[in-house]
Every structure is written in C-alpha cells, then in structure tokens.
Symmetry: C2
C-alpha cells in the first residue's frame, strides 16, 4: 500500500503542472501572481454563490421556463437571471470599454418610442391595413415629413386605409382599433417590431437564416425614428448615460453611414455625415460635463466611432464611402477610430469581393496622411470553409485591428495563433450569438477555446436594443455562469483587454486603466462586504 500511495503522489505531482501548462495562455494567468488577497477571496465567494444558485434558483420549477439552467437561452432565462445575486454582482462590476455595438441598436426600444412620441411631424405607414391576422408581419415604417406633406389620414387599422400612405403618428396611435388593444396595443406592436421575442428566436425563426430576417426587419422600423436629428442626439445621450450606469467607461460604437443624410426636425433629409459627427461630439462633451458636474468625471473617458457601411454595395459604390471616411477622419481625427463593413455576412458580400477598393483605401490613407484601421466583422457564422468563414483570412491579411464576432475563429489554428501573437482582439458578443442561433446556449459557445488559447477578448453587446441585453452585465453574467474555470479574475482580464485593445490613445488608455483599477478595488470590497 505504501508504494501505491507513492505512485499516487507521483501522479498528482505531475498532474498539477500539466493542467497549469494547458491553462498557461489564459490572459488572467499572466498576472495571476499579482492578484490581491481580496480578489482571491471575492473570486472564491462568487464561485460559492454561483454553485449555490445553480442548485437553487436554476433548479426550481419556473412557470414558462421549460428547462432552466445557468447560461440558458437569454430571452427565456432573463426573468430568472435578474433574480440572482450573481447578476447583482455583475451589475456592480466595472466593465471597461464597450467595443462592439451598433449605435442604432443600443438604446432600449421603449426609450426610443418615448422620444418619438414627443417629436412632432412623424408619420407611419404599413403595407396593408393592420389586422389581428397580419400584426406580426405587417411592420410599421416611420418617417418625419415636412409640414407641406403632413396628412390627416385617421388610422392604420381602418379597412379604408390606403396601403403605403403616411398617417400622423398620433392619429395612428389614438385610433388604433380596440380589438388590437387600442393605444397600448399600438405601443406593443411598435416595440415588438423593434425587438426579438423568445417565440421568434426559439420557435418560429429557430435557424440563423430565419432569425436574421426578423433581426433585419427591426431596423426597418427603428431607422425611421432614430435618423431624425433631435432624436438622434438624445439617442446618443441615452446610450452614453446607460452605458456609464452599467460601469462602462468608454464606448466605440459602429455607426452606419450608408444613408448619406438624416432628417432634420423640419422633415428635410439634409443632415450630412459631418453634421452627425458634430452632433456626436457635442453630446459626448455634454455627457462628460454632466458627469464632471456630478463629481463622477472619471467614470466616463469618452467615445469614438467605427465608420461602417453595408456589405451589399458594389466595389465602385464603396469607393465613395472610403473617401467619405477619409474626409471625416481628417476633419475629426479624434472621433473616427476605424472602418468596417456590416450586415449579414452569409447573405451579403465577402471581404474578398471588395479587395480592390479596400487595398486602395490603404494607399489613399498614406497619401492623405491618416490612419484608419480596419475593424472588421468576420466569421459570424456556423459555416466551415464557407465565404463567411473565410472572411477571417481576409480580415487578418488586411490587418484588421480587432475581429467583430470571430465566431468561427476557433476552427483555424493558424489564425488563433496569429491573433494571440499579434494582439488581434476578438469582440465576442455572447447573447447576440445565442439569439442569432449560432449557439443554442452559452454552454456551447466557443469562448472558452479562445480564452484557453490566449486570444485577447472583449465582451460586447452588439445590438442590445433588439436583444434586451442592455449594458454588459447580462453578457458578463452568461459568461460567468457557463464555465467553472471562469471566475472574477477572468472577467477582470476581459475588462482590462477591452481597454487595452480599444482605439483610445495611450494617454486615454492610461486614464481609463487607472479609473478601472480604482473601481475594481472598490468592487471587490463591495462584493466581500455585501455578499459574504
């Protein structure tokens, strides 16, 4: 027996370093020996609470939640998530930077709707008179009209409604038929048109291709409300304020510049891209001033924009946008952080289709003396060797600064190595990936593969207005509860990476990191004092 025990001791002595070696690339382990006693204690406490909640709130029967488990489908599980202590802890956690969010899907749909209801001149139309039978598919389109075009059409839901004609918003709302729920029914109809519900994601539209149809349709409704100058500026303000309240200290949204103008309050579509940037800059400064005034100046470092357009353009059309982007960068060097092509990668054009203008773009930047890194969406797919999957090769060969989604990156050993070695961070959007059916729950998400391979990762929310994952607390929650290996120190490393791989300049990064570390220490204290 003595010799057996020696054999076991020898085995265990070899086992520990083997496991350690396998985990040695994880970015939190680079500074593992620097972890404070408090961080270690808080980490252990959070693991205990997580285990406890997995056995209690996630094991109980819940009405309307057939199979509850930690990391489950977000739209169904949200009502359980918000009951947990772990979610309370995530809400308090400082998050660093938000690096992947589409501006026009960052603000709660109800908030946008309130803004719209206060804005004069907005009209609405549908493709056929609204009825109970077509309510789910007959989506509202909004437009602010100049006074010369204002109408007095009384209702969208009357059978006499002429399809496609513009009805004043308040007429449509006030006269919405009682069978469809009256005013409240109208509000619900509009909000549903701008969000994805569980029945859609997990039932009627339960494939990547189908849910993308629903996803895209939400923008048809919201764009007519957001692309109005006075609403747009309030929308940005709310995005910044709500991000700050969730512990985010810097944001780098993608703005879609496809439309060359937005509407003014007068209903004229003549507000140009440079005016959008002036507006953005003004609101950022106002929110900064507001935070200073509250004595919370350090909590908001700022915001930059990733210039985006859609990957259905022709290469010739794209040229216009590339020149537009260069011109804006020259006028607003602090605001333009990078360039991206967005839209459904699987249905639209791959990067290689645009190789000529994209290579020219780099040349033109040299000529103009500007630096606008690519920050490409790539590999947001279940495909293996498809054009969408292969966008990863082109994103990296074109020198992308980060990769948006990179869902299929883990399939590519050379690319994983390249990302680790060159410091190309992946903008991982856990809840977005799940609702868009790339993964059935957080348990099957490839994030652990990236983390164990030492690829830098920033967690991101993508389109929280559509998905309901406002801020970053929900995304951090899903990541934390879906892995035993992941702890508070992992989340801290993710937040630090979001700062390190942002487009802030070195001075801004230092400021941001200093704020983050102070907030992080406060956070650990509060976890230990409130949840022990």
């Amino acid at each position: 027996m003595a010799s057996q025990s020696a054999a076991v001791s020898d085995y265990l002595a070899a086992r520990a370093p083997f496991i350690e070696q396998d985990r040695s690339l994880r970015r939190e382990n680079r500074t593992a020996n620097l972890r404070s006693t408090k961080e270690i204690e808080a980490d252990q406490l959070v693991r205990r609470i997580r285990a406890q909640e997995a056995d209690t709130v996630w094991k109980e029967e819940h009405e309307d939640v057939a199979h509850p488990f930690p990391g489950m489908e977000f739209l169904t599980g949200k009502k359980i998530i918000i009951q947990t202590k772990i979610f309370q802890i995530m809400s308090k956690m400082p998050k660093g930077a938000l690096l992947h969010a589409h501006l026009d899907a960052t603000v709660n749909a109800e908030f946008l709707w309130d803004l719209a209801l206060k804005q004069p001149g907005i009209h609405v139309r549908v493709a056929q008179p609204l009825s109970a039978a077509n309510l789910a598919t007959n989506l509202p389109e909004f437009r602010i009209l100049p006074s010369s075009l204002h109408t007095d059409i009384p209702s969208l839901s009357d059978t006499s409604y002429t399809p496609g004609s513009w009805v004043p918003l308040h007429n449509a709302r006030d006269s919405f038929s009682t069978e469809l729920g009256g005013t409240e029914g109208f509000d619900k109809y509009v909000i549903s048109s701008m969000t994805i519900n569980p029945a859609e994601a997990y039932g009627t539209h339960n494939t990547v291709e189908k849910i993308w149809q629903k996803f895209i349709s939400t923008f048809i409704t919201s764009t007519g409300l957001i692309r109005i100058e006075p609403i747009f500026s309030e929308y940005i303000r709310q995005f910044l304020r709500s991000s700050i309240e969730d512990g985010i200290l810097y944001v780098e949204p993608r703005i879609n510049f496809l439309y060359k103008n937005m509407w003014g309050a007068d209903g004229q579509e003549n507000i140009s891209h440079r005016e959008w940037l002036i507006m953005f800059d003004r609101v950022v400064k106002e929110v900064k001033a507001e935070m200073e005034q509250k004595g919370r100046g350090g909590e908001f470092i700022g915001a930059k924009i990733i210039y985006s357009t859609i990957r259905f353009l022709t290469p010739a059309e794209l040229d216009w946008y590339l020149e537009d982007c260069i011109a804006l960068k020259k006028e607003f060097p602090q605001l333009i952080a990078g360039f991206d092509l967005v839209g459904d990668e699987a249905q639209l054009r791959p990067l290689i289709y645009y190789i000529e203008p994209l290579l020219k773009f780099r040349e033109r930047q040299k000529e103009e003396g500007v630096d606008i890194p690519f920050i490409f969406h790539a590999g947001e797919t279940l495909g293996d060797g498809t054009e969408t999957d292969m966008n990863l090769y082109d994103a990296i060969l074109l020198g992308t600064k980060r990769i948006g989604h990179g869902f299929s990156l883990v399939k590519h050993p050379k690319l994983v190595e390249t990302c680790r070695q060159k410091g190309i961070a992946v903008e991982v959007c856990p809840i977005s990936n799940e609702i868009l059916r790339l993964t059935s729950s957080m348990l099957t998400h490839p994030l652990p593969v990236l983390l164990n391979n030492g690829v830098p990762v920033a967690l991101c929310s993508d389109d929280p207005a559509v998905f309901g994952n406002m801020g970053l607390s929900f995304d951090y929650y899903q990541v934390l509860v879906a892995s035993e290996l992941t702890g508070l120190s992992t989340l801290g490393a993710l937040a630090r990476d979001s700062i390190e791989f942002s487009s802030m300049d070195e001075r801004e990064k230092s400021a941001a990191l200093a704020v983050f570390e102070r907030k992080w220490a406060e956070f650990l204290n509060s976890v230990l004092s409130e949840f022990a």
Copy 2:
C-alpha cells in the same frame, strides 16, 4: 488601375499559402498530392450534389419538420436524409473500423424484439398497472425465469395487476388492452422504451441532464432481453452482419461487464464473463466463415472487445474488475483490446477518483506480462473546468490509447497538441452528441476544430439502437453536409484513421488497409458512374 491590379495580385498570391498553412494539419492533406484523378473528380461531384441538395430537398417545406437544413437534428431530419443522393453515396462508402459502440446498443430495437418474442421463458413486469396516462414513464423490465418460477399472470394492463409481479411475455402482449393499441400497441410501447424519439430529445428532455435520464432508462428495458445467452449470441451476429453491410470491416465494441453473469436459456443467471468471450469469439468466427462462403471474406477482418464497467463502483469494487480483465486478457489475448469506465461522466465518478486502482492496474499488468491499454471515455460534456472536462487530463496522463468522445477537448490547447503529437485518436460520435444535447445540430459540433488541428479522428455511432443511426452512414452524412471544407477525401482520411488507430495488430491493419483501398477505388468508380 494597373498598380491596383498588381496590388490585388500580390494580395492573392499571399492569401493562398496563408489559407493552406491554416489547413496544413488536416490529415487528408498529408496525402493530398497522392489523390487520384478519380478521387478529385468524385470529390467535386459530391460537392456539387451536396450544394444542389442543400438548395432543393433541404429548402422545401416538409410536414413535421419545422426548420430543415443539412446537419439538422438527426431524429427529425432522418426522414429527409434518407431521400438524398448524398445518403445513398454514404451508404456505399467503405467505412474502415467502428471503434466506439456499446455492444448492448448496437442492434436495431425491432430486431432485438423479434429475437425476444421467439425466446421461451421471458417475463415482463412494470411498477404499476399500465394505463394511457403512465405508458411513457412506466417502463417494462424483462427477465427470463427458470421454469419453476414461470407464472400465469394474464396481463400488465389489467387494474388487478400486482405491481412488480412477472407476467409471461406473450400473456402481456396478447392481452394488452385495446385502448392502449392491443398487440401492436404493446410492441410500440416496448420499442419506445428502448429508443429516444424527437419529442423527447428536442422537447421534454431538451438538456444534457434530462436526456441522459431517458437514455439510461432505455438500458433498463433492453438489458433484460440482451443478457440471455441465446439472444446475446444472435445479437452479436446481427451487430456484425449489419456493420459489414454498412461497409465496416472491423469492430471494437465496448462490452459492459458490470454484471458478473448473464442468464442461460434455462433462466439460471450463471453464464460467466469467460463464457461471454467464448460466445463472442465463436460468433465472430461463424460470421467470418459465412462471409468467406459468400466469397466476401475480405470484407470482415474481425472484432475485439473493450472491457468496460461503470464509473459508480467504489475503488475497492473496481479492483475486482481489473483483475477479471487481466484474467480474461490472459485467456483471450486476441479478444481484449483495452479497458474503459463508462456511464454518465457528469453524474458519476471522475477518473481521478479511481487513480489508486488504475495505477495499480498498470503495475499488475507488468507482473502478469499483459498489455491492456486504457481507452477512456473523457470530456463528454459541455462543462469548462468541471470534473468531467478534467477527465481529459487524467485520460491522457494515464496514457489512454484513444479518447471516447473528447467533446470538450478543443478547449485545451496543450491536450490538442498532445493528441496530435502522440497520435491519440478521438472517437467522435456526431449523432450521439447531438441527441444527448451536447450540440444542437451538426453545425455547432467541434469536429472541425479537431480536424483543422490535425487530431486523428474516427467517426463512431456510440448507441445506434437507441439513436437510430445504425452503421456509420448516418454519422458520415451529418459530417459531410455540415461543412464546406469537408469532402470525400476528408471522409477517406477519417476511415483510414479508424483503421490506423484501432487495436488490430499490424498484420490485421495491413490486411484491413489493403481491403479498404480496394473498396475505396471501387467506391469512387461507382460514385462517378452512378451519380454523375
């Protein structure tokens, strides 16, 4: 423009080797330059048919199939799969070896049921009188009884039935109440108890934990039918015959030796493990002779056994099985290929729990002059850093010859590298993983990560009697249609790996490979002649 085109040419010239490098570890690429013209043509043809079927049969509306797509949930998609040309092609393909299948779940449930109906002396019992309300959960248990214990209880479904009392099989069947479907209803009830249906996998039991409960329950019903000497030998025969018909030339099933005896035709539970092996050996030889007689001798190389017991034993109990395994290996050196611990990894004991007896097992083998490699199940889990996930470390440190499932292996860079370098093949069971809810469809299976990392892989069916994926054609189908990168050459490499990493000796492997290559060439011819 001229310089732009040069820039594009330079880009493309750098792109091709970059992609090639990323794919260079794929095992089919080791011999890519040896591919015959026929293989290249057949590969291209299969890709065209696959693309065509993705756009036709997989795009059509199918009654009862809500969201058809290639690689979808197997139990729902099977009715579409069998309509495709790709499935016809897969059925013709030579498969090499089957390296991961639990013997008592390898034969079609209907076939087993037919055997049982012909066997005198079998009785059946349930925990409460059968009714429409409890039919799905009140599972039948079977036992062959010695004539002294035979009963004449008339029915299972009569309210006068005493729970737990044994009813002669034919009484139970003939008297099955007409409200429950009579004889046919009884057959359906028994078959349903031994298989998983789509509503269970994708509805009522749609989590790993829940579907495992159903999965385990199927063995409660089937074990009482299989563990009867005359049925067991016919069961083995059918397993071998149906494998051969599917193009499998060698099998290496896991046999569960937990029960120390099985029943004889006389209803005595006294057939010992060594008698099981004698029976197995006899049937293998009979099937070989049968194949020789048909002039198809080369199509069946043979079979070996992986000795398995269940991971709920105590370490002290395990000792008995390890010694039993050694004794059997000494008596039947050609039959015992390895040792494994089976059962739900997440609910039962991790390998580390058995470290003392497992290390002692290695010592005892040296003393006895035998070599019984471990061939462990490990990492059949969605966990990240859980005990089940960590079984992978112990499997590898203990020198496992292959890894059963290894579903979570892709999370571990060091282990992936070790498997590639040391030639530890992974027994990947695509359909099993999907039905047991580790992946929602083949599109989210980690197999492409293993392939691109050069890890040797053998495709396996695991428990086809329960899942309905008889043979390997269905598993190969799911793999082929879920990836654009995967082609016939990939499948050929998988089949060759199944031979190379089997427990055949070198002489057997050479014979098997020679047969395989001949069959492969015939297969390519038939693809080109029948499907072009």
